[in-house]
């Protein structure tokens, strides 16, 4: 394929293949998707690593993310500046961490970050409530939400500080074999 020479150097491909779970073809596919989000901003030639980042609003307009209730958090977590402006590296990172072959530990770390809405490295009750509201799209009454969150906190909080630290979260995820298949975005 002649395209490959003009988009990425071989060294870049090697780096991508070693650091992510993607093959050459998939990297090119990702580049295509990134490019079509903003054809006038994203250059076709990435050999000299241009510093182009797309704003959050463009990224969440992708069909894979458009209807996902956590799309803003996902993009924020993987963006370098935490605000949602993604460079191509962040873009690849996001799909690599959410791909099928990513190991459980990696997915758990990122899931924790995504569900942590106030970015305090703990899943407190407010985080849980926000997650629940996004899941159910406001179908539960506030009383039910409260009850569900306190019950969930009770189940998962092991050290009794009424917040879920990362180890609590990890322990809970380890009991859910579905996590690997549901926490998965296909590109």
């Amino acid at each position: 394929m002649g395209n490959k020479q003009t988009i990425f150097t071989d060294e870049q491909f090697e780096a991508y293949q070693d650091c992510t779970f993607f093959t050459r073809k998939e990297i090119l596919q990702l580049h295509g998707r990134f490019h079509e989000l903003a054809p006038h901003l994203v250059p076709l030639d990435y050999t000299n690593q241009p510093d182009v980042s797309l704003p959050l609003a463009l990224i969440v307009s992708m069909p894979e993310l458009k209807e996902n209730p956590f799309r803003h958090r996902i993009v924020e977590v993987f963006s370098e500046d935490g605000q949602g402006n993604m460079s191509f590296n962040d873009f690849v990172d996001m799909f690599s961490a959410l791909c099928e072959t990513a190991p459980r530990e990696l997915k758990t770390i990122y899931a924790f970050k995504i569900y942590d809405f106030n970015v305090d490295n703990f899943l407190c009750k407010e985080d849980l409530e926000k997650t629940l509201n996004r899941l159910t799209k406001g179908e539960l009454t506030p009383e039910e939400v409260n009850l569900v969150c306190s019950k969930a906190m009770e189940e998962a909080d092991l050290d009794g500080d009424s917040k879920l630290s990362f180890s609590d979260f990890e322990n809970m995820i380890s009991k859910a074999p579905d996590f690997l298949s549901t926490f998965h975005l296909r590109i």
Partner: protein
């Protein structure tokens, strides 16, 4: 398992301070306190853990002034609720700077910290562990306290040069690992891609060092790796071709992981069949096609029916067993000279390449079955490992919140449905938790007994019916064979497959009716019961048919008027496969339509039909079993199955998308009409169950019958590659003996052959070893489960320890600060709450 950690501090406190009791209020205040302290700490930058520069005393003075007001209010509350001194300690906000510093640098606070230093250090530890594991040295200190997770670092220093040294350490560690491990470590690091590329550049720059170190890797892992590549290389290449990637994505996005697993299963079966087809084609069909045997041309009327019945001109084609000769093909031989005897190469040069067809037939079938078996068992064990759950979780609300949203679903409608689904499930779980009563159901023993007896009875009668019908068909065919061969007589051959397919279609409906009547409490139990009944039906049908073919027809072929019983059996299987496919098509196209009418008319509900995953998968497995049974008699049957699977995939996909099936539950439609949507079956367990059903009843049964055929049934003397042999496996034996006589150097092969293939002791030994390995693994898993529960207990105890230490620290500080104040000294007696 939902366990609640009870933070009743009484046992510990009583032992140590002899005065204190804790209760819920203490816990609440403690929690509030920690939260307040926590937010106070983390309101600034999350990276700084050190306290500000205030002297201890001034800070405490300030804190004490602020908390005096709170203290008065607290004391009033305390007096009212008769709390003990220990709770005074906890409630007061006069935490010393020492306590706060200790609290802030607790490892559990810093786990999951996103600072780069933490991540690099953690990766450092892991890579060191990996390196040490390879060099086989033990490092006890790293694993002594699982709660600290082998950190071994100070959590409060954040120098830039510290980061640099850590990074350099990490790079060194990476360089000392093997290439594969390095890549794996890099990929699993939760750093951003830019950082990883930098690390990689540093680590991979030293190519010389890498080659030296890689040679130190033990040779057995290299051997393992090469074997792995050779053995599974072909299959992985095929799967990485990403067949139907776009279609699968659309299906997953629209209907979720459950329905997607059905289509992924179709893809898996397709790969198995492609493998079978390629091997058979290459080693069996192709040589015979290039050197076709001499046949007396028989006149057959070419009607379209031959395609369905497999008779007529097809019966003397490559499709069926009867076509294959028992000759040895020599490459120099011209096809015209090849006879049905030993071939034309006996007098020619013995070093010419001779291709022994019977031997090829025997070994090809054997080896394909062996490899398929290995691949199945391997994928089954991998699937089991992925879906293994240590605890049976009940009331798993937290898991439902965090793990139930399927990120693959992307269509608006499906997303809305998914969120409705989750809402309903949460409401159900909540009602269970609240302890609400379940609706009264007819779950009496009598109903269960009735349902089971009806199901088993119907299965039995179905099998009996098929048995009688088959016997009747044979008699009728015998009569027909004496007369003229007419179209009606040939069409009658399709009667038995038709009846069997009808049974396969109607009886599962009856089973669903039974399930609806029984109204199981747990949908999982309902599902397993329905799968078991369906499986029993299919196994009994196949069992009856195999008995007919192998037990009756094969044993006395002349009685049934057959010259070539193997071809006949092959044709029967071909017919079964085709008719099954036709009925599936009819059911998919018309069955949904009829169900919609029924639902609207009788049940008066505008329900859309449901995609019954379990039933469809069992049909797939049934088809695959037929293929495996038939491969011995019809080497091209996998090709038919491939076509069938391809058509099935596209047909099911279009029917799903056209009908926009709504509920993707594994139960059938009858179950869904009255109740709210049940908890969906866990997706990972689905694929595990499918693969294990494929392996155990299906593949095992096929292997057993093929083995039985090869070992105990006399092949027909008029046709096929094994004619004039007492048993089929004698071809291998003959060849081994020939080898011994012609080439004494290869005599050991004969010995190997006689040991492995003919001696049953070897098989028993293998079976024994296999069982032992399984037993050892189950014991290991049991042991690990026990360790996990012990570790969980340890975690609870550590939590209690932590609470104790904090209160103790605070107590000591207070004693030191206010040695003379009597109000703060813990009283030896505490009041019972």
């Amino acid at each position: 398992m939902a366990y609640s950690v009870d933070f009743n501090l009484s046992p510990i406190m009583e032992l140590e301070l002899e005065s204190l009791r804790g209760d819920d209020t203490a816990q609440d205040s403690m929690c509030q306190l920690i939260r307040v302290t926590g937010t106070g700490l983390e309101s600034g930058s999350p990276k700084t853990l050190e306290m500000d520069v205030l002297t201890t005393e001034s800070r405490d003075r300030l804190a004490s002034q602020m908390s005096d007001v709170r203290e008065r209010a607290d004391e009033r509350r305390l007096q009212r609720s008769e709390e003990s001194m220990q709770t005074n300690l906890l409630v007061r906000n006069r935490w010393s700077a020492a306590t706060l510093r200790v609290l802030s640098s607790m490892p559990s606070r810093s786990v999951g910290q996103q600072s780069r230093l933490e991540i690099i250090s953690q990766c450092n530890i892991r890579s060191t562990q990996l390196r040490r594991y390879h060099r086989q040295t033990k490092d006890v200190s790293l694993s002594s306290r699982p709660s600290i997770r082998g950190y071994g670092i100070e959590a409060d220093s954040e120098d830039v040069c510290e980061e640099e040294t850590k990074r350099q350490e990490l790079v060194n560690n990476l360089q000392s690992l093997s290439a594969g491990d390095r890549v794996r470590m890099l990929r699993a690091m939760p750093l951003s891609l830019a950082e990883k590329t930098k690390l990689r550049k540093l680590a991979f720059s030293d190519k010389v060092g890498q080659s030296i170190l890689s040679s130190q890797v033990p040779c057995c892992s290299l051997l393992k790796r090469t074997l792995y590549h050779i053995l599974f290389g072909c299959l992985f290449i095929l799967s990485s071709l990403q067949l139907w990637q776009v279609a699968l994505k659309r299906l997953g996005g629209r209907f979720g992981t459950g329905v997607l697993s059905y289509f992924l299963f179709i893809r898996t079966l397709l790969l198995f069949n492609v493998f079978l087809f390629l091997i058979n084609g290459l080693f069996l069909v192709l040589p015979q096609a290039i050197h076709p045997p001499l046949h007396t041309p028989s006149s057959h009327r070419v009607t379209g029916l031959e395609l369905f019945t497999g008779t007529g001109y097809l019966s003397n084609s490559l499709m069926f067993y009867g076509y294959y000769t028992n000759s040895t093909i020599n490459t120099s031989c011209r096809p015209a000279e090849a006879t049905t005897g030993t071939g034309c190469g006996t007098t020619s040069d013995p070093h010419m390449m001779a291709y022994n067809i019977p031997l090829a037939y025997f070994f090809t079938i054997g080896i394909t079955f062996f490899i398929t078996g290995i691949v199945l068992v391997y994928s089954m064990s991998k699937s089991f490992g992925r879906s293994f759950r240590v605890f049976k979780s009940q009331g798993n609300l937290a898991i439902k919140i965090f793990c139930s949203w399927d990120f693959k679903v992307s269509k608006k409608m499906s997303v809305r449905l998914q969120s409705e689904n989750i809402t309903t499930q949460l409401k159900e779980l909540l009602s269970e938790v609240k302890g609400g009563e379940e609706k009264g159901r007819l779950s009496g023993m009598a109903v269960h007994l009735l349902a089971w007896s009806i199901s088993l009875g119907s299965t039995f009668f179905c099998a009996l019916g098929i048995h009688c019908f088959a016997k009747d068909m044979h008699l009728r065919r015998l009569e027909d064979a004496e007369g003229e061969v007419s179209l009606v007589h040939e069409a009658r051959l399709l009667a038995l497959p038709g009846v069997v397919s009808c049974g396969n279609l109607l009886l599962p409906g009856l089973f669903n009716l039974m399930s609806w009547m029984e109204n199981f409490n747990s949908p999982i139990v309902c599902l397993y019961v329905s799968i078991f009944r369906n499986l029993l039906l299919k196994v009994s049908i196949l069992g009856v048919l195999c008995y007919h073919w192998l037990g009756k027809i094969a044993a006395e072929p002349e009685q049934h008027g057959l010259q070539c019983w193997e071809s006949f059996v092959g044709q029967e299987l071909y017919r079964f496969l085709l008719v099954d496919f036709i009925f599936t098509v009819l059911n998919t196209v018309f069955g949904e339509f009829i169900w919609k009418l029924f639902a609207q008319g009788v049940l008066r509900r505008r329900r859309k039909p449901v995609f019954d995953i379990a039933r469809n998968v069992l049909e797939l497995i049934y088809g695959q079993t037929l293929t495996w049974l038939g491969v011995l008699f019809t080497p091209l049957l996998p090709a038919v199955q491939i076509l069938k699977l391809l058509l099935l995939f596209h047909m099911k996909k279009s029917s799903l998308l056209v009908n926009s099936l709504v509920a993707f539950l594994p139960q059938s439609s009858l179950l869904v009409n009255c109740q709210a949507p049940r908890k969906p079956w866990r997706a990972s367990q689905m694929s595990t169950l499918f693969i294990s059903l494929l392996c155990f009843p299906s593949f095992l049964g096929a292997t057993v019958s093929v083995t039985y055929t090869i070992w105990t049934i006399k092949p027909s003397s008029g046709c096929g590659p094994f004619r004039n042999l007492p048993f089929m496996f004698h071809s291998g034996k003959q060849w081994a003996q020939e080898l011994k006589s012609t080439n004494p150097k290869l005599a050991w092969l004969n010995w190997v052959h006689s040991c492995l293939v003919e001696n049953p002791l070897f098989l028993f030994l293998m079976g024994g070893v296999f069982l032992m390995v399984i037993y050892i693994h189950t014991q290991i898993v049991d042991g690990q489960r026990k360790i996990i529960s012990l570790l969980q207990e340890q975690m609870e105890n550590e939590g209690k320890d932590k609470k104790f230490l904090i209160t103790r620290l605070q107590a000591i500080h207070e004693e030191r600060q206010y040695p003379l104040s009597p109000s703060s000294r813990p009283q030896p007696q505490g009041s019972e709450v």
